[in-house]
Structure formats: structure tokens, C-alpha cells
Symmetry: C2
Subunit: 206 residues, 2 copies
DNA sequence: CTCCATAGCTAATGGCATTAGTTTTTAAGA
DNA sequence: TCTTAAAAACTAATGCCATTAGCTATGGAG
């Protein structure tokens, strides 16, 4: 067959196809991405180093879409909260992505920049520098854990035997995703309040 | 070869081998577990339905070890905190397990019981029943996200270009796992304080 | 003593990621 | 303009994985 007149592939096209595939719920893999692009698997290696890089492309594509610079001039708490909400939106609109990106090291520049932005705002707000990365990491863990829970099958807990409380509450309440939404809101509220109070204490100590 | 005089395998032995394998950092898989047991892969199917069930066995084995009933008589906050710390210990002592169990549905009775216990304590404490599962889910997401972050490679963020703040702070502070430990402590503190305050408000409203 | 379930095994299937080497096309340089 | 090298698709092959089917010897139940 030889080289085609016009290139059929590009990292952008691969990233798009990968996101589509993941969102469809079908099992993710390099071969499946190739199939979706109407191309044989080895062709992808002309554009990408392997399956891990495809995942990194996906992260970058979504980061560009969701994590692109929020307003920088607002109060630090509002900036942080809006950034975390953006991350949250990314996870809920692409739930199947979460387990894939949850375990690999971040190299994408857009994501790095968003961490950098969070750190910069926290420093400017007056948090001690030794604590700033800890807080960024904390918020990230919460958002990721929450996203992971959202991605899990609806019945996260499936009690087979009798339970003291769990079974009753599971039957009474809304489905898992609604609960997850509430948990995210409650948690974010508590964490942001906690951070503000923590900052006030730091300022008072100084 | 035929049936051996004394059975070489059991679900317990499989679970143990799987945990050992996972802890060793080598890639997890049914074949690798079989290798470690000195047995051919298909033999495992006499005891287990497939690789997913092995993961469930691992969850159960660790849950039995770490999540076995804490003291039930203490104040609700202390009980909850100690349960979450137990979960945390499970994750830090077996970090490679986290990505594996993070995405699959929980069927293990021990884990279910521990959720049930948390829910029971929260109900008894006076939280509105409609909120209890939300809070359990919230704490779980935090612990899991934290554990996942702990499991990630030491340099979670690898800025290749220049950054405003991130690079400097990364160089100055302790390595990722220490930061993760601090983030867990700060987060747990904020969340528990937040829950207590929330309870006080609920009680005042009633 | 017979028979069946158990628990190893071997062999085979089909999927996956990846590498090597082939062909054709395009772009660049003499 | 002709040559040459890189690019981008391909085919073929490797080696891993999980899983299924079917074989065989053992031990216990009737």
C-alpha cells in the first residue's frame, strides 16, 4: 500500500479517536483506537510511542478543553474552587477516562500549568510555602477520588447479606451518581471552608 | 499428571500469592500469580472464576487484616477517624493494590460491613439519614484518592518547562510521599472538623 | 468396589502491544 | 530535473495474556 497521498493520522486525530472510544465505554486499547481510525495498529507507531503516550494525549486533549486558564484576578478561594469544578466537570463528562489517567505520571504541559496556577494563587493568598504543594495535592486527591467513585458502576456497594444500616439507606436514597454529586459538593464546601480558616490562623500567627 | 495427592491451591493461597506479587511491584496478572504458586495458569480456574475474582480475593484478604471491626463504643468521630486511618494504612502498606481495587465493584462482605459500621455510627451520631451515605462516600473518595496519589510514582508532576511557582516548591520541599502523608493528615483534619460542625448545625436546626 | 467430583495438567484460541521490514509517496537538495 | 531520504501506511511475526476444552489420576461417597 505504501505511504498515502494525504496522511490519515495525526496525534490530534488519535487523541480524538481515543477519547471517543473511551467515552463509548468499550474497552480501551491501541488496537481499538486503530480500528476506530480505520487503520492497522502498527500505523499508530508512526505518530505515537505506544499506548501510554495515547493516554497522555487524552489527558492533554481534555486538559486543553477543561483546564485552560481560568480568570486569574478573582479571590484565591474562588479561583481554586472554579478550577476544581472544571476538573470535576472533566471527570463527570468523561468518566471512563478517570481510571486510565489516575495512575500515570503527568507530563502534559497544560496540566502542569494548572497545578502551577493553583500553587501560585495559594502562595499569593499567604499560605506558608512549605504547605502549598500539600494543599494542591490534597485538593487533587479529593477531586480524583471523587471522580473515580463517579466512574465506578452505579452499585458501588452490593451487600449480599443483611446489614444494620447500609441496606436500608441504599434503598431509600438516590442512585450512586446523585449521591456522588452531593458528596462532591459537601466535600468541596468543607475543604474550602477549612482552607480559609487555616489561612486565617496562619495570618494570625504571623 | 492427574489430581495431586494433596491440593496445592486454595483461595487463601491464591490471595496470599497475589498480594505478594502486587507488593513486589511486578505487573499483576493471573499467569504471574500461577507462576508464583509453581502452578500452570489454568489450574487457578479450579478455585477462581478469573482474574477479577482474584482481585476481589485480594480486597477481602486485606480488608480482613485491616478493616476488622474497630472499637464500637467510642465517640462517632473517633471511630470514623480510626476506621479511615486503618484504610489509609492498608493503602500505604500495599500501594500497588490501590489502582487494582479502585475501579471494581465491592462484593467482599468485610468491606461492606465496614461501610455499614460507618453508616451506623453516623446515623447514631445524629446526621440526617439522607446524608449519611453521602458522607461515607465522601470520606471513602478522599481516602481512595489519597491512596492513589500515594501509589503514583514519586514525581507525580514532572514539569519540563519553566513554572511560576511549582518548580521552586518541588525543589524545596520533601518528596512526594511525605507530602502525601501531610496532605492526608491535613485533609482528614479538615474533613472531620467540618463534619462535627455540620452535625452541630443539624442539631441546632432541629 | 464402583463411580464421580476434584484438581492438577496439556493444548488450543483469540486478543493484545510491539517490532521488523516492505512499499509508496512526498519533499528537499544537488 | 534527478536523486535521495524521510514519512506513513502496510504485512508478517513475536511473545505476552486470559480463558476454554478436554485429559488423567486421585480420593471419598455410596
Amino acid at each position: 500500500m505504501g505511504r498515502p497521498v494525504r496522511a490519515r493520522l495525526s496525534t490530534a486525530a488519535i487523541a480524538d479517536a481515543a477519547v471517543e472510544l473511551i467515552d463509548s465505554g468499550q474497552p480501551f486499547g491501541l488496537n481499538a483506537v486503530a480500528r476506530r481510525l480505520g487503520v492497522k495498529p502498527p500505523s499508530l507507531y508512526n505518530h505515537v510511542d505506544g499506548v501510554d503516550e495515547i493516554i497522555e494525549l487524552v489527558r492533554g486533549r481534555l486538559a486543553a478543553q477543561y483546564l485552560a486558564e481560568a480568570g486569574t484576578d478573582a479571590e484565591w478561594g474562588e479561583v481554586l474552587e472554579s478550577m476544581i469544578r472544571a476538573e470535576r466537570r472533566m471527570y463527570t463528562e468523561h468518566p471512563h477516562v478517570v481510571p486510565l489517567i489516575a495512575t500515570s505520571t503527568v507530563r502534559d504541559e497544560g496540566v502542569i500549568r494548572s497545578y502551577d496556577l493553583k500553587a501560585t494563587h495559594l502562595v499569593r493568598a499567604g499560605f506558608p510555602e512549605s504547605e502549598v504543594l500539600v494543599l494542591v495535592q490534597l485538593l487533587d486527591a479529593f477531586a480524583l477520588g471523587s471522580g473515580l467513585d463517579y466512574a465506578a458502576p452505579d452499585a458501588v456497594w452490593e451487600p449480599s447479606g443483611p446489614t444494620k444500616t447500609l441496606g436500608r439507606l441504599l434503598g431509600a436514597g438516590p442512585p450512586g451518581r446523585v449521591r456522588n454529586e452531593q458528596a462532591f459538593e459537601v466535600g468541596l464546601g468543607i475543604l474550602m471552608d477549612g482552607l480559609r480558616e487555616r489561612l486565617a490562623r496562619h495570618v494570625a500567627d504571623a
